[in-house]
């Protein structure tokens, strides 16, 4: 489903050129639950950004559904992000002035759903993540775990082919981390492809497969 081949990406930090990704090749199949684990500065966030089409590699091939993405336009990339990828971020990235339902509706509205359709769908997924009754709550009125579950609901609302979770438990205590990981695991058991990025081996262990990254290279 996703195929990375010889991906390279480097940044200039002051005088120094840092190789964030050095010749990374990776293949992800439908139904995978892969944890990419590495310490900070290992390049795992860069990898996540490239996988999520938020950033472009300097060189290498990236095939998404057998389509090379390097020559797609901004709008095409936005459309793929909207329909095929669901993001779960470390700091949730919910829009602070919108309530839970409205936050989940955002990506659905961008794909052209009506307000009614998107609201129905948002209610459905909110129920799925166990937050029924919190529809009208603003992110600031929800606990960290609840916010992350809203974010997961937002990610799965559009039936994406893949969920990219970047340190989804990084801002949560161990108990809620457990709950969030259970949630992801459950989704995977129903066939959802998930890529998890973390520095925490205990979190990574929930995945079916662990890939280590260090200094921009996969092990």
């Amino acid at each position: 489903m996703i195929k990375l081949k010889n991906i390279k990406k480097s940044f200039v930090l002051g005088e120094e050129k840092v190789k964030a990704l050095d010749d990374v090749s990776l293949e992800i199949e439908k139904g995978d639950f892969i944890a990419i684990i590495g310490p900070s500065g290992s390049g795992k966030s860069t990898l996540m950004n490239i996988l999520g089409l938020l950033d472009v590699p300097d060189s290498g091939e990236y095939l998404f559904d057998e389509k090379e993405v390097s020559n797609l336009s901004d709008n095409d990339l936005a459309e793929i992000r909207n329909k095929k990828i669901g993001f779960v971020f470390q700091n949730f990235n919910l829009l602070p002035k919108m309530n839970a339902i409205e936050n989940i509706q955002v990506p659905l509205l961008y794909r052209g759903m009506t307000d009614k359709e998107s609201k129905d769908r948002a209610l459905e997924v909110l129920k799925k993540v166990g937050l029924k009754g919190r529809e009208q709550h603003l992110p600031s009125q929800l606990s960290g775990g609840q916010q992350q579950r809203v974010a997961i609901a937002r990610a799965i609302a559009g039936n994406p082919e893949i969920i990219l979770a970047d340190e989804p438990t990084g801002a949560l205590d161990s108990k809620t981390s457990e709950e969030v990981m259970e949630q992801l695991k459950e989704l995977n058991e129903k066939g959802q492809t998930i890529i998890l990025i973390t520095h925490d081996i205990n979190v990574a262990k929930k995945a079916k497969k662990i890939i280590e990254i260090l200094d921009g290279k996969l092990k």
Binding site: L54, N75, A78, R81, K83, N93, L95, V106, Y110
Partner: protein, 360 residues
């Protein structure tokens, strides 16, 4: 907002004032010519008036003079009053009527009698509800007998008749004026003959009275209306200038607010882009915001403008806001919002998602 407010107020006042002046000019009648001699070296005498009156199509010609004086009775002082010194024919010529008492007679003129007719507002100010006929008022401290009251014409009508005092032409000499004739109202029998008669009078002035056209003017109410309209249109131009400057300033304000908003919300833009917002989606979002800001500004401007105009009405300005201007202001606000919102919105739309997300 301030731009819109000042435009609404100024245009409203402008409209009000010009309606007022138009009303005054028109109420004098379009069949009246005004002859004014601009040089103090030349004057007319009663012989000239008789000759002018004998010209074909001319019904009456009446000399008049405006004088200034304090107007009082006892301790009561009337502040705003026009004093017109004139002859008996004035009333017929200018369609001025009286509601009580008598008109000025030729005997009053011959004797330079200290008599006067009062406009209804002045009569009320000085006498309240008492009957002024036969009473006296003081002009520059001298006693004048009230012989008549002018018919109320309302504030917007001719020469502000209600605040006018009429005295015999020759009596003007007691109020620091001479009795030379340099202004005439001339009544023409039919307004279609105005232009033709104007030429005849000009002819008479140059050939018989020997006054060159550099020193006098004959104007019809129509030509005064034209002049008024000219003044009005330059006034409108001036307003337009003020308006466009303030609108540009307002537009820059909108742009500034939007640029700040885009900077503050870079993170939000990043989130939206990661969720699949296209450039167009972000552009539209920020344009709508700019539009809302400027429309709220426009609406406030209209409200402030109207209330300020109404407030000025308390100080006897005429305020007449036109619906056209209000609607135009609204559309202008919208246009300003769009034009000045495009740059910030475009800036937001082309943000790179990963850079935008990093600001969180």
């Amino acid at each position: 907002m301030i731009g819109i407010a000042s435009v609404i107020t100024l245009v409203g006042i402008g409209n009000g004032t010009s309606n007022d002046v138009m009303g005054q000019v028109q109420s004098l009648g379009t069949d009246i010519l005004t002859l004014s001699i601009r040089s103090s070296d030349y004057t007319l005498d009663y012989e000239n008036i008789n000759e002018i009156e004998s010209i074909q199509n001319i019904e009456t010609a009446v000399p008049y003079k405006t004088v200034s004086s304090t107007v009082s009775r006892g301790n009561t002082i009337s502040q705003k009053s026009n004093i017109i010194a004139t002859t008996a024919d004035y009333f017929e010529t200018t369609n001025t009527t009286i509601s009580d008492g008598r008109l000025i007679t030729n005997i009053d003129i011959e004797n330079s009698s200290k008599v006067c007719l009062l406009g209804s507002d002045i009569a009320q100010t000085l006498f309240n509800l008492a009957n002024p006929i036969g009473q006296t008022i003081k002009l520059n401290g001298d006693s004048y007998k009230v012989i008549g009251i002018l018919t109320t014409k309302g504030t917007s009508m001719g020469n502000d008749v209600d605040n006018t005092i009429i005295i015999p032409f020759t009596t003007a000499k007691y109020l620091g004026s001479d009795t030379s004739i340099s202004n005439l109202y001339i009544k023409v029998n039919n307004e279609d003959n105005i232009d033709q008669t104007t030429e005849i009078i000009e002819n008479y002035m140059e050939n018989s009275a020997g006054i060159s056209e550099d020193y006098y003017s004959v104007s019809s109410q129509e030509s005064m209306l034209d002049a008024m309209n000219n003044v009005n249109s330059s006034f409108s131009l001036l307003l337009g200038g003020i308006a466009s400057i303030s609108l540009i300033v307002g537009g820059i304000g909108v742009m500034n607010v939007m640029l700040v908003s885009v900077t503050e919300r870079t993170g939000e833009i990043g989130i939206r882009k990661s969720l699949g917002a296209k450039r167009k989606d972000i552009l539209v979002q920020f344009l709508i915001e700019a539009l809302i800001i400027s429309l709220i500004g426009g609406l406030l401007g209209v409200l402030i403008g109207i209330s300020f105009g109404e407030f000025l009405e308390l100080f006897s300005y005429d305020f007449n806001p036109s619906t056209g201007i209000i609607i135009l202001s609204f559309f202008t606000s919208a246009a300003i919002g769009l034009v000045f919102g495009i740059f910030p919105a475009y800036k937001a739309a082309k943000l790179n998602p990963i850079d935008a997300l990093r600001t969180l």
